[in-house]
């Protein structure tokens, strides 16, 4: 008599006919519910939950690894956002041109070229140039600037504000804001009118905060009418400490020889073209005599900054994660060893090798995922707290949080492979005898 077993490709899955129909006593058993995914999850969670303290210790490495990755990348993103916002607002749209200089024989720096007085007009015809203005410091020598005429020789000389001369269009070219009054115009410049605009800090020092009464200041003995106060000069913050007069006035009253600097506001991305064309427009015969500061093409600078921030901490995070993975592998292996009897029992109760392997895999994946979730939460929290304390806008990609939590699960998965294979290869007869 040879009765064949019913052949099933995968006996542990799917319903199969039970040939023992005619036997009394034992009722038929449907195979549909043999160790389903739900059973797998329940069994694995019992395995994990049995030792809560150990679970915390096990996840610690993964928590640290994931947290440091999130912190590293989160800060890099935050910093990049911070740098980008500054670059985009100022540096990426700013070109500054100065006369070139060379060291002369007696060791002094000597200008090799000079900016023409009509420089703003010349460059404003170039493509990509939006606004342009000249600025120049006016040497004061012994002359002081005061709000009242000084005739008291006994009073000790005070360090007054600096004197600057600009073209009429400079305020817009440096994106300054008027607090009150107005900036001088081309007419003031052409007529060399004795008008002045104050930087906000200079105005404070001179005790002037309104211009509707047409207050005067004195540069030396000459009186100048204050027509406006400015603030928020992003590109030349030194203007805030200065008294500013039209270039024409500075030439007439103080003998200013030539402007120091041409400030150009350009369209985003026009840096390279403006940098090459502006010197030619200023002096077609000797364009090499100018020093041009223009934004570097693309955002190479920004990427460099970000890469610098990332690499060291990224390596630390990966190392911590590796340690975390080894920790999970270790503890899962330990738990396999401790539960040899349980593994033998499960095999005797009908578990396949694959059932056993899956159980330990799921346990280790869940441990990794828990570590990933906690680590991601901690990391995001740290980025937000530190950013807020620094006054930065925290930037954390939501995919960073989700991805890093999943990365924890992947670490758990990799860490679980070896212990799971070991567990599934344990011979039930040896496992059951072991604890007898």
């Amino acid at each position: 008599m040879k009765l064949r077993m019913p052949r099933r490709g995968r006996a542990e899955r799917g319903p199969a006919p039970d040939e023992a129909v005619d036997r009394g006593g034992a009722p038929l058993i449907a195979r549909a519910d043999r160790f389903s995914a739900q059973d797998l999850i329940v069994e694995a969670s019992f395995g994990i939950g049995a030792r809560p303290t150990r679970l915390i210790m096990t996840t610690l490495g993964t928590v640290l690894g994931i947290a440091s990755l999130v912190v590293t990348i989160g800060f890099a993103q935050t910093a990049a956002g911070q740098i980008a916002s500054q670059f985009d607002a100022v540096a990426a749209t700013q070109v500054v041109i100065e006369p070139g200089s060379a060291n002369s024989l007696n060791g002094k720096e000597r200008a090799t070229g000079s900016l023409p007085w009509d420089a703003p007009d010349r460059v404003s015809r170039l493509a990509g140039v939006e606004l342009a203005g000249l600025v120049s410091e006016v040497p004061l020598d012994a002359v002081t600037i005061t709000a009242v005429p000084v005739n008291d020789p006994s009073e000790p000389p005070t360090l007054g504000p600096a004197l600057m001369a600009t073209s009429a269009g400079l305020l817009d070219a440096v994106r300054g804001q008027l607090v009150t009054g107005r900036y001088f115009d081309v007419g003031h410049d052409a007529r060399s009118d004795r008008v002045a605009v104050l930087g906000s800090r200079a105005a404070e020092r001179l005790g002037i905060n309104r211009v509707d009464s047409q207050p005067s200041i004195f540069i030396g003995d000459s009186s100048y009418t204050v027509i406006g106060i400015i603030d928020e000069v992003e590109r030349r913050p030194d203007l805030l400490d200065s008294v500013i007069v039209p270039l024409g006035t500075a030439r007439a009253d103080f003998g200013l020889a030539s402007p120091d600097e041409l400030q150009i506001q350009i369209a985003l991305g026009a840096g390279t073209i403006v940098a090459t064309q502006a010197p030619i427009a200023l002096n077609p015969n000797a364009p090499e005599n100018y020093e041009v500061q223009a934004p570097s093409p693309g955002s190479a600078l920004r990427e460099n900054v970000q890469a610098d921030v990332n690499i060291v901490f990224l390596i630390l995070g990966v190392l911590a994660l590796l340690a975390g993975g080894l920790g999970i592998a270790n503890v899962t292996m330990l738990s396999v060893m401790e539960r040899v009897g349980e593994i033998g029992l499960r095999r005797a109760l009908g578990a396949t090798k694959r059932n056993i392997a899956h159980q330990f895999m799921v346990e280790s994946v869940v441990i990794g995922l828990l570590g990933g979730l906690v680590g991601a939460a901690l990391g995001v929290f740290a980025v937000v707290v530190v950013s807020v304390m620094q006054g930065w806008a925290p930037v954390v990609d939501p995919w960073l949080a989700i991805g890093s939590a999943l990365l924890g699960a992947v670490v758990g998965l990799l860490a679980g492979v070896y212990p799971a294979v070991k567990a599934s290869n344990i011979e039930p007869i040896i496992a059951l005898r072991g604890s007898n």
Binding site: G25, I29, R34, G350, I429
Partner: protein, 226 residues
């Protein structure tokens, strides 16, 4: 057509490759009919556990054939043997092998997970099995709080919850005193009366004598002592 025997061993030999090579079972022939109650006795190291492992599909014969319920087990693959263990065979061990962190009910439920008892039916059957071993009042206890006899009764409930054809017990009373081992033997008799086929390994003559049939193994060879 007559019913095939539950167990039919034909010239089964089990040798462990050494060195030195050990022949734990030597050309065994054994038939166990349905509702038989068989005890196996023999000195330590004679091959009793080895035989039980083969009967329970935890191990394979080196030579010879084993028909379980009329089906040739050597044709079954690993997964199929696992399914047969879960569905047709129940085990009771000397060391109980209960999971310490899980309640009595959960321990019994564990056997339903691998044997394909429909999910909706599991708890009802686990409670019924615990009722059958007279442990209704201990359902939510942890194994650590139970006496030895109670623990072994939980193990018996776990062994029968999936309605197996064959119950295999290796020294089930080895860790119990005379009174509690009596409880377990009473239980075995009840189960046998209900139609279960039982094979029990024991050192204890009192336990062996309660079985309808006794075989003894010495040095891997079987002799019937009925």
């Amino acid at each position: 057509m007559s019913r095939p025997p539950v167990v039919d061993l034909i010239d089964v030999t089990r040798s462990f490759t050494g060195p030195p090579e050990v022949q734990a079972l030597k050309s065994i022939n054994l038939r166990v009919e349905k509702q038989d109650y068989l005890s196996i006795v023999g000195p330590s190291g004679s091959g009793k556990s080895t035989m039980l492992n083969i009967l329970g599909l935890l191990d394979r014969p080196s030579v010879g054939e084993y028909y379980l319920d009329g089906a040739l087990t050597s044709l079954a693959g690993e997964a199929e043997r696992a399914a047969l263990r879960g569905g047709k065979i129940g085990f009771v061990f000397q060391a109980f092998h209960l999971m310490p962190h899980r309640s009595v009910l959960d321990n019994v439920l564990l056997a339903t997970v691998y044997s394909g008892v429909p999910r909706a039916d599991r708890e009802r059957r686990a409670r019924a099995a615990l009722h059958r071993v007279h442990l209704d009042h201990r359902i939510d206890f942890l194994p650590g709080t139970l006496s030895g006899g109670e623990r072994q009764r939980v193990a018996v409930a776990r062994a029968v919850v999936a309605s197996p054809q064959l119950l295999l017990a290796d020294e089930p009373t080895g860790n119990l005193d005379a009174t509690t081992s009596g409880e377990v033997m009473d239980l075995f008799e009840e189960l046998n009366a209900d139609g279960l086929t039982l094979i029990v390994i024991t050192h204890d003559k009192a336990v062996a004598d309660r079985a309808g049939r006794t075989i003894s193994i010495a040095d891997g060879r079987v002799s019937e002592t009925t």
